[in-house]
């Protein structure tokens, strides 16, 4: 069988999965969409069996009808000549998106996971609703652009409240890059600028540690506890990676079951779940990323995550 990896050529997770597949004797093709059009070309014709043809990359000629499974990671934007006008660039982009995207999406292959399902699942608000349906515990949450409601919600939380960006966690201004982390909120600071756009407020979980759990659709669940004594890093571990320790953690069965129901509900085959675990041992769902990072955790703990993903692709692809 042959597996197609759609990922940036330096994607750590994809590199590991590619290696694991190769170890299993599976043929791997790799297509980084940023190679198009300078370093890649396509050629396909519609037939009675669907689209037949090839994607030519710097390393190989990918035979579309031979692809059994696809591992889809963060595909990179196409690289068009920057000298194109804005309208020319828009034309080229849309045509490539629907042309190459359509060609790939039409493949009768097993996807982990399909781009459309991934795109849907990346709506945090959708994830939260799915998690509730799946029986996972979700902290009290409010999405609003009403500052009065926001202040009332913040004041009513026993352990305080936090603000989280819904999607746009990167801010570029004054020539610098900034990130929006999970941040504690004081009600008196909530002002009328909340009216500009929806804001997400959540009860602050009195956590002991965080976990990142990789779950696959065929039932593998691998969890890592992320611990720190630093109060800032404990609020959001992304603020200080240098102050974290990692260890393998057993995921309670009811949480595993909830994650699997959530994956099925979202229509994705892989989910990278984040939970906070409180003093009572309750696991609180924060989010699930269908394309989340886990390579550094596999490296730190030795967990066979790449092997699990490879097994999923082989099984799904009929290998």
């Amino acid at each position: 069988m042959s597996v197609l990896i759609l990922a940036g050529d330096e994607d750590d997770e994809a590199v590991r999965v590619s290696y694991a597949l190769t170890q299993k004797g599976v043929h791997v093709w790799w297509f980084d969409t940023s190679w198009f059009p300078a370093r890649a070309s396509i050629e396909a014709e519609i037939t009675g069996d669907g689209w037949q043809g090839v994607i030519n990359t710097p390393d190989a000629s990918i035979e579309l009808n031979a692809v059994s499974a696809v591992y889809y990671r963060h595909s990179q934007p196409f690289s068009f000549p920057s000298k194109l006008s804005e309208q020319e660039l828009r034309f080229a982009t849309v045509e490539a998106r629907f042309g190459i995207g359509g060609l790939l999406s039409s493949l009768p292959a097993y996807w982990a996971s399909h781009p459309s399902a991934v795109a849907d699942a990346e709506y945090r608000i959708v994830q939260m609703a799915s998690a509730v349906r799946a029986g996972l515990h979700v902290p009290a949450s409010l999405i609003t652009n009403d500052p009065v409601s926001a202040r009332r919600f913040v004041d009513n939380q026993d352990h305080g409240a936090v603000y989280k960006a819904i999607m746009h966690k990167i801010v570029s201004e004054e020539g610098r890059i900034k990130l929006i982390y999970t941040s504690t909120v004081d009600a008196v600071t909530v002002d009328d600028r909340v009216r500009v756009t929806p804001h997400l407020f959540q009860s602050n979980v009195p956590k002991v540690f965080d976990t990142r759990v990789v779950v696959t659709g065929h039932g593998v669940c691998l969890g890592v506890a992320i611990r720190t004594v630093d109060p800032v890093a404990r609020q959001d571990w992304r603020t200080h990676y240098d102050r974290l320790t990692y260890d393998v953690v057993d995921v309670p069965q009811h949480v595993v079951d909830g994650c699997l129901r959530c994956l099925a509900d979202l229509g994705v085959q892989i989910g990278v779940f984040d939970f906070s675990v409180d003093r009572a041992g309750d696991w609180w769902f924060l989010e699930v990323n269908p394309s989340g990072a886990w390579a550094w955790l596999a490296e730190a703990t030795g967990l066979p995550i790449a092997e699990a993903v490879a097994d999923l692709l082989v099984a799904g692809g009929g290998g």
Partner: protein, 87 residues
């Protein structure tokens, strides 16, 4: 490139990944009326962990100048584009 459609359809997004993952560097300053949540944006702390391994940090936010090539009258020419990328 950011997709500015108000409600992006999943099929439209392929193969860009989620909006906001690659955004252009902006020299603009904050206005008085900017969304309240943007006040929480901070410059990330530089990370120096797991130096022995390739996966030095799980969330990479970097500014990169991407080389691009294109064919002009049969001649391959180079150009660049500057974006901010986070993984």
């Amino acid at each position: 490139m950011i997709d500015t459609a108000p409600f992006t359809r999943p099929g439209d997004r392929f193969p860009f990944g989620p909006p906001g993952r690659a955004i252009p560097i902006s020299p603009e300053s904050a206005t008085q009326g900017r969304p309240w949540g943007m006040d929480f944006a901070v410059v990330p702390v530089e990370c120096h962990i797991l130096e022995s391994g390739k996966h030095a940090k799980p969330t990479k936010t970097r500014t990169e100048t991407r080389p691009t090539q294109f064919s002009s009258d049969g001649k391959v020419e180079s150009d660049t584009q500057t974006v901010t990328v986070t993984d």
